[in-house]
């Protein structure tokens, strides 16, 4: 039983570390978004709290924490309380299978531990897709339980959008899965070792450039961000499904949206850009004779890739106007879906031919 206890303790430590990193990243993102938007619109962004405004996230958190918690009259109290939690849990649970660093194994007290991934399950990417699809329930139930027409319409719109674009996310991933022959994110990143042209974005025999574009567009839509933030179109639906939410419950929805952004960025980095692999073979620290510290370089590369995706989210928000709802649906089903399907056929043929040539 002590082995079980040790395993539990190690897993809990890993989970705490990953959760800590994600929450800190989300705090950083709330500030970074406002700063980046400010610079792009030629203004300063938040400047008041702390030097250069860097303590703004804490001010926001304290404000949300102490705000009055309002449950509207006629709302379904149970579901109104459950919805933010249902939204938040799927957003955080997906990080369990993301590999943050090299695929090392450690021996601690007789059991083998992979320090840079909480759980290397053999259906990693399907696990993330499964829980991403559960996130729609929080939104749709939050909209329904508020007992407000704006919330209900916002929730329905948002759920329809998430289901439509989830399909494109799933189909764009299949090309990578065909190339690797595995669903485990650890094995997918391991297969992209070496120079950067081994990343699946550029890798022969079937560069996944189209799949990558489809994935990025669909993941922006799936996280309900601009230009696909129809669910919270201010001019039509006030604030969408969280119109009636305030205080801590609103903070949960907010947190879930940002955690989802981080999650899709991590998946994009792991699937298409080699995850923690540097663009050159091996690591510089290893060449300098410090192989035990090379994980720092690897995790830094992962962070750089993830943060460049997150920057892309802000960039899109500052650049593009919102789509109309029918345009959004048409674009998803009539443009992105055929591209993703054609990519699967092309990748399968290319992989088959290259296997026959060998």
């Amino acid at each position: 039983m002590s082995e079980f206890g040790l395993r539990l303790a190690i897993s809990l430590t890993q989970i705490a570390a990953v959760m800590g990193i994600v929450v800190v990243t989300v705090l950083l993102l709330t500030l970074a978004e406002r700063k980046v938007l400010g610079w792009m619109q030629d203004r300063m962004g938040p400047m008041e709290v702390g030097p250069y405004g860097i303590l703004q996230p804490f001010a926001d958190a304290i404000k949300l924490f102490f705000k009055e918690d309002i449950i509207p009259a006629g709302a379904n109290k149970f579901l109104f309380t459950m919805a933010p939690i249902l939204c938040l849990i799927p957003a955080f649970i997906g990080f369990a299978v993301i590999p943050w660093g090299p695929n090392w194994t450690l021996e601690i007290g007789g059991i083998t531990v992979k320090p840079f991934v909480i759980s290397d399950i053999n259906i990693g990417i399907l696990y993330i897709l499964a829980f991403a699809s559960i996130g729609a329930y929080g939104i749709i139930l939050g909209g329904w339980a508020s007992n407000s027409k704006y919330s209900l319409l916002g929730g329905l719109r948002s759920a329809a959008q998430i289901i439509s674009y989830e399909l494109n996310v799933g189909l764009s991933i299949i090309g990578v899965v065909i190339l690797t022959g595995s669903l485990s994110l650890v094995q997918i990143t391991d297969a992209q070792a070496g120079w950067f042209w081994n990343w699946y974005l550029f890798a022969l025999p079937a560069p996944q450039i189209f799949a990558f574009v489809v994935y990025v567009i669909s993941s922006v839509a799936e996280t309900n961000r601009v230009p696909f933030d129809l669910p919270e179109a201010e001019s039509e639906l006030v604030a969408g499904f969280f119109t009636e939410y305030s205080g801590l419950r609103f903070a949960f929805f907010f947190l879930a949206e940002y955690a989802n952004m981080v999650l899709v960025s991590c998946v994009a980095a792991a699937l298409f850009l080699g995850g923690w692999q540097a663009p050159y073979p091996g690591t510089i620290l290893e060449l300098l004779g410090l192989p035990s510290l090379s994980w720092i370089e690897s995790t830094m590369w992962f962070a750089i890739k993830t943060y460049s995706f997150l920057f892309l989210f802000f960039w899109l928000r500052a650049t593009l106007p919102r789509l109309r709802y029918d345009q959004l649906m048409k674009f998803g089903w009539k443009v992105l879906l055929p591209i993703a399907l054609a990519n699967i056929v092309a990748t399968s043929i290319a992989v088959f031919v290259s296997q026959q040539m060998k």
């Binding site: 579901l79 399950i121 053999n122 259906i123 399907l126 696990y127 897709l129 499964a130 829980f131 699809s133 559960i134 729609a136 329930y137 749709i140 139930l141 329904w144 209900l152 329905l156 759920a159 329809a160 289901i163 989830e166 799933g170 595995s182 669903l183």
Partner: protein
């Protein structure tokens, strides 16, 4: 440990599937169906069928049930008591089911000592997804293709049925446009 997990999952599946039909509020029924799907997925995981578990959650919980919720919310179904007093139907379904249950129970009493049928692959080590793919595209290729064809036909039929009215209305609208003359 395995028995404990099986007991938990099986118990929850039974309770939540009874709640699906017993609860008066259709949204709560849909939610207990969601909990049931999760526990079925959990049961698959205890059997080392991770792929099936993931597909169970993605397809049933993630897509089909969300559409059910759509229908329930948009139709604004009231807590209608009409559907909760169909005792004749209940008796018609339950009597054969309980007889079947008794027959199965008496049958398994003798078979309790028998070993389970040997599996073609070692479930703990083999790649579950690979095994399913191999079986589906070799042994069961024809049923698989037939099933996909039937689904395609059903999808085209649904689009045809749903789209017919819209097409007629659009045609009427076009003739009324003044600039078209």
């Amino acid at each position: 440990m395995a028995h404990l997990f099986f007991g938990y999952f099986a118990g929850m599946i039974t309770i939540t599937s009874i709640l699906v039909v017993a609860l008066r509020n259709p949204v709560y029924s849909a939610l207990s169906l969601l909990i049931m799907f999760f526990h079925v997925a959990g049961l698959f995981i205890t059997l080392h069928a991770e792929f099936l578990a993931a597909v169970q959650v993605i397809v049933y919980a993630g897509a089909i049930l969300v559409l059910y919720l759509f229908v329930v919310m948009l139709l604004n179904v009231n807590r209608d008591d009409r559907y909760h007093s169909q005792w004749r139907v209940v008796a018609f379904v339950c009597v054969p089911l309980s007889i079947e249950f008794l027959v199965l129970l008496s049958g398994t009493m003798g078979a309790a000592n028998r070993q389970p049928a040997s599996l073609p692959v070692e479930p703990h080590t083999a790649d579950n997804t690979l095994a399913i793919g191999r079986t589906l595209f070799s042994t069961y290729l024809f049923p698989f293709e037939v099933a996909s064809l039937i689904l395609l036909v059903a999808m085209i039929g649904a689009i045809f049925l749903a789209k017919r009215d819209i097409g007629e209305n659009e045609a009427k609208d076009v003739t009324r446009v003044p600039g078209a003359q």
